[in-house]
Amino acid sequence: MTNLKGALSALIVAGSMASGAMADPVDDTLIINEELTIVTRTAAPAHVADVLDEVMSGWLFRGTETRAMQADDFDNPGMIFVEQAEDVWNTADGSEGKSCADCHGASSDMSDVRPTFPKWNDAAEKVFTLEMQINDCRENRMGAEKWKYTGGDIVNMTALLASVSRGKPVNVAIDGPAQSTWEDGKELYYTRTGQLELSCANCHEDSYGKMIRADHLSQGQINGFPTYRLKNTKLNSAHARFKGCVRDTRAETYSPGSPEFVALELYVASRGNGLSVEGPSVRN
């Protein structure tokens, strides 16, 4: 059997070389608005160095036109939603009559936030995603209603907070109180779910760079979230994307906002530690 496997991998290598350049990530640099250089590849952080040499943004796996759209805020359709969220940032809501700006100042002062989420919350004694933090502020500080986890209001707000952090390295903590959640996320990442028995790792660790039918597989990084997808012409949160990928294994998915997806988000984010925040990104 060993011989046979050897022969097969030789075939696989020959096969992917034959189809060549098309499938490799591009050698290109993302500079937004001709001034902000984005780190789209960098050495893998220590906790994934056993399986990856380099971590790469999904941007490198997209076509020329899609990549160009993200390089200019006027061409990036996601920026319209950032503008909408900027208005909401400055508008009072809820029984306390406060806006986000009343507590936090200008949105541009929030550039250290996105890179560190998901992150442990002492009061709640659990890991908070940015969405959970936003809803916590709405409920407990503004006296306003929670937003739906993957609804337009909240995804727009995460796009605003990502946009002001663009260029800063993703830097989520995986130790201390967050560690057990991180371990749970790692377990999920390697679990082969559904009738197709595929794990995140099967597609995004073992097969990135290859075509799966019409799709060019990336490393499935989330430094670019939320992403504006040309396919559904709206901003998509990381959990919505996770749900789609799990569904595609013919599995019963987890819900956006569930403890499972929160843990998975922390783990996947940590695999991209060192890549720049680039949301809202553009993808197909």
Partner: protein, 157 residues
Amino acid sequence: MRVSIITTIAAAVSATALGAAEIAPTAVSFEDGTVSQSLSGVAGDPASGSEIVGSKKLGNCIACHQVSDLADVPFQGEIGPSLDGAGERWTEAELRGIVANAKIMFEDTMMPSFYKTEGFIRPGNAYTGEAADDTFGPLLTAQQIEDVVAYLSTLKE
């Protein structure tokens, strides 16, 4: 964590004795990853097999494999090896074993098991994202597996 309990209940039913008796997914007998007995007892149809291999709604083998014979089917994937010449490299029994449950021949392979109904983690109802219900069956029927095997057997270089 993968649940890889493979039930190899010796196939009690002999297709030849009972005519076109079908072997249930839980009753397939694998020997070193191969399956010598026809799953449906009816000869496979290569034309139907070619349709199944290329169709997104059926086998969707093309998602991961290239097949020059199906050059008219666009977007052939590159996860697995090209299937060109598969009929020369493998016997019918080997091909049947690979298509029915490739994980026995190739440990931990990414290739899905097309004739299997047990041992999944969070099995869903096709691509709905909902849990599987009592309509849950193997990815391909016994006859579809036979058709695919018949088609693969024609792939000679």
